[in-house]
Amino acid sequence: MSALTLYQIVALMLLCAGLFGLTQRRSLVGMLISVELMLNGAGLSMVAAAQLTDFSAVLGQLGTLFVMGLAAAEATLVLAMIVVVARRFKSAKTSDITTLKE
């Protein structure tokens, strides 16, 4: 088994953990944590693929840097949304904030 395969398996593990968490978590903060796990898996996979193949290594690292920047922007916005939701509904549980169902 090549080194790249091992790294890709670890990245896949992170993606699956994030997906499972996203379906199981019942609060917005828990879902945010799961999304961060998935983004980390994507970054690890990109860096491993760029470093261990003939593909341009600079492009792979810069792509991962952009993923990190997007993750920071996403976390900022989600924090603001959680503040607004928690203020309005007095809870960040996803089952409490589904008003369309009622």
């Binding site: 944590i33 961060e36 928690a86």
Partner: protein, 168 residues
Amino acid sequence: MEVMAKIAFGVYTLVILSGSILAVTSSSLVRALVGLITTLVGVAGMYLLLATPFMAFMQLLIYIGAVSVLIFFAVMLTRAEKGGDEGGKAPMKTYVYGLAATMAPAALLGWLIMTKPVDSVAVPVEVTIKQLGDGLLGSYFLPFELISVILMVAMAGAVLLTWEKRGK
């Protein structure tokens, strides 16, 4: 891979695995956040193994320094303790559907990774920080500018969302 590199890879894999399991299954969000930070440290170690110390440094700086603190604020602003938002058992149906939703991409991508391996080199390519800077201010100047605009808009949007009018 050398023997030491293999040992380090195994240790980092264990750190990542235990951290992600804690992050996903813990019923207290504070513990889940500790698990997430453990995973992030493990991924930073993986970056070091891939001969990209700059990426490892950025991982520590951006993810552990900035994103984790943001999530910590989100945890503090909600009911994160045991028996809070995440307390109580979910119905069995959720577990079954969640496992199915996880196993489908895991099986497909795992099969692809195992059966169609790409030609790879054993020793990672070395990239200097100067090359990264040349890339950022040369060929990839537009994405570099766009990401700063996105960060600006996200922060302005966050401030605007949480703005409370005086006297309201």
